[in-house]
């Protein structure tokens, strides 16, 4: 008997279909949250969400939704140009860009300039998987897509708790992508560091990914998808996008970070 399994793609699709209406309308989303039961995030210490000022988890009829409000302190300490885009806006734009590129990230909506609501996935982050269980097994195409995305967005905060590890399908899922779209380039994501160390052959393999074609298409819509208000940040985003057009392998992305190569 062949088992039919709900893949992650289907899961996102189901969530997307069911929630189409309320994820388009902040008022409907607020109403949905008000009607839903708030779940305890943890009794005491877990999960730690750093400097986020408000975080709430809701059980709705469409699944768990996570509300996150960023704090002034977070903007200040990370030197975020709020006039160009708050952390919440940046996270929401990162999600829009990921969707346009066909990259699975938990569906998200900007509730106001400081608050986002997103699907909560019951999947461990990479930190927990590595600590509790063992090394990650990667899907190189998935890593390639995530690496392109993180380079494009200039992500500066992709540590091991900022991506989930779906060990059922052996894929990583990027979360907490708010620290992005700055003038300077991002920093080498954690998963790329361990992928390079553990998958020597695959790092240089040529990737045939429709994703690269999509980057070409998305460039013309960048301003619409990521409406940064700073010209310098816009320029930096376009510059990074154009550099991606000629890459072929994961190592090509790693080279962008190693400026001497």
């Amino acid at each position: 008997m062949w088992h039919s399994k709900i893949t992650l793609d289907k899961l996102f699709f189901i969530n997307y279909s069911l929630s189409m209406d309320f994820f388009k309308n902040p008022q409907k989303l607020k109403q949905l949250l008000e009607m839903s039961e708030e779940l305890p995030l943890a009794v005491q210490n877990y999960p730690s969400r750093g400097q986020t000022s408000i975080q709430k988890l809701y059980q709705t009829k469409y699944g768990k939704l996570f509300l996150k409000k960023v704090s002034d302190r977070n903007h200040q300490e990370c030197r975020i140009n709020v006039k160009s885009g708050t952390l919440a806006e940046r996270e929401s734009w990162a999600h829009q860009l990921a969707s346009a590129l066909g990259l699975n990230t938990p569906r998200m909506m900007l509730l106001d300039s400081l608050t986002t609501v997103q699907y909560w996935l019951d999947i461990p982050d990479a930190h927990h998987f590595i600590t509790d269980q063992g090394p990650l097994t990667f899907d190189s195409q998935n890593v390639f897509e995530c690496a392109c995305f993180d380079w494009l967005t200039g992500q500066i905060d992709r540590h091991d708790a900022n991506y989930l590890y779906d060990f059922v399908h052996q894929k990583i899922i990027l979360i907490d992508s708010a620290h992005a779209f700055l003038e300077w380039d991002g920093s080498l994501p954690h998963y790329l560091q361990i992928f390079e160390a553990s998958s020597l052959g695959a790092v240089s393999e040529k990737q045939y990914v429709p994703f690269l074609d999509k980057i070409g298409t998305v460039i013309s819509k960048l301003q619409e998808l990521v409406p940064l208000r700073s010209i310098a940040e816009q320029d930096a985003l376009h510059r990074r996008a154009h550099r991606l057009l000629n890459i072929k392998s994961i190592f090509d992305v790693i080279k962008f970070y190693r400026k001497s190569l």
């Binding site: 779940l39 305890p40 509790d132 060990f167």
Partner: protein, 198 residues
Amino acid sequence: MTPFQKTPFKISFPSDKERLNLFMNTVQLCIQTPIDDWKMQDPNTLLLFFRTAPKRDKGLDFVTKLVDGTWNEKRNILTFNNFKNISWAQLMNFLMLSRLNEENMKALAKMDAQYRPFVRKLFGGEERNTDEPLETPEQVSRFIFSCVEKQNMTLRKLADKSDLSQVSLSKFKTGNDIRLSSLLRILKALGLKITIEK
């Protein structure tokens, strides 16, 4: 001693309070009903207090089953029995990684034998979980002849139905290798189907 060590550890309140807190955080992450408080009644019994009666909380049902829990419905208290005899480090990892999502739990059991007893407890009772991979001829043989036994089928009847000799079947029963075409005939005779997954 780290909270993630693989060997069972004993919790003696209050010196291991921090470890107990960590465990309770992990439980809370997997269930919907808010935990109000907890208390070690004695070294073998842990009590969990809830503000309200749980409503349709599949995670809590799973936890209850995993720890041989008993409910005091009047007071909304869940008692973890045999606290000393459970490998809490393993259970904590299991909860943290699977979040008691069925697909995650079964994948974990496939990936790592240490989690199989938990999955058996939840889905398979004492029987073998059908999602566990069969990786050697001996495992396939054991599985098939356990099905023969359950169907009260004699070796002769199986030989008739599969059009194989009793000698071949006996050899297979003792763990010898078998031709793929013969295996498929046996499966057909028993009404079993094979699943191949990447």
